[in-house]
Symmetry: C2
Subunit: 107 residues, 2 copies
């Protein structure tokens, strides 16, 4: 499967689509535009972000902001408060445990 094609027909922002799985992890794609995701964390689970298109602002508590660009890979470690946003539409692949809830625990 071509990763870009996995976004076809995905119309809503912040609405991840599961496109596959590897072991106990889901592979998801999500379109992001704006800032609808509140600060949150996943108590027991890391979360991998891979930028397929566009630019993602990754804010993490007690760490410098990360401006992730196309081709960038970033793992938010479990327990870390974070939020993501993008001024323009960006396309992201996520890899996270099947047990992970979308916005985890709010702060």
């Amino acid at each position: 499967m071509n990763l870009k094609d996995a976004f076809l027909g995905l119309d809503n922002y912040f609405s991840p689509r599961i496109i596959g799985e590897v072991n106990d992890q889901y592979i998801k794609v999500v379109k992001i535009k704006g800032q609808e995701v509140p600060w949150h964390h996943h108590e027991h689970e890391d979360e991998l972000f891979y930028v397929v298109k566009g630019t993602l602002l990754m804010e993490i508590e007690d760490q410098p902001d990360q401006l992730l660009k196309k081709g960038d890979l970033f793992v938010v470690k479990k327990g870390k408060n974070h939020r993501v946003s993008s001024k323009r539409e960006c396309l992201i692949m996520l890899i996270e445990s099947k047990t992970t809830e979308h916005t985890g625990k709010l702060n």
Copy 2:
């Protein structure tokens, strides 16, 4: 981290480098050229392949060959005999369980 940059200084083919982890999975990068990997399988573990550059021939027992191109994502399910090769150099990201051995069980 930019995924392409993760290959810098990786000189040897078929010699994966661990570049990160997400939950119980390693994120690895590997350069492939030629056909040095024998048919093998991983009894209990899936293996994700993502083509960063070039073209990868994925052969899987009892399935059509897959010619994976840049931007293609493919998961080899546990227990499936497979082998990979490439006529020209290609760059691959792997995601696999930390317990996975490089060429698993030979056939």
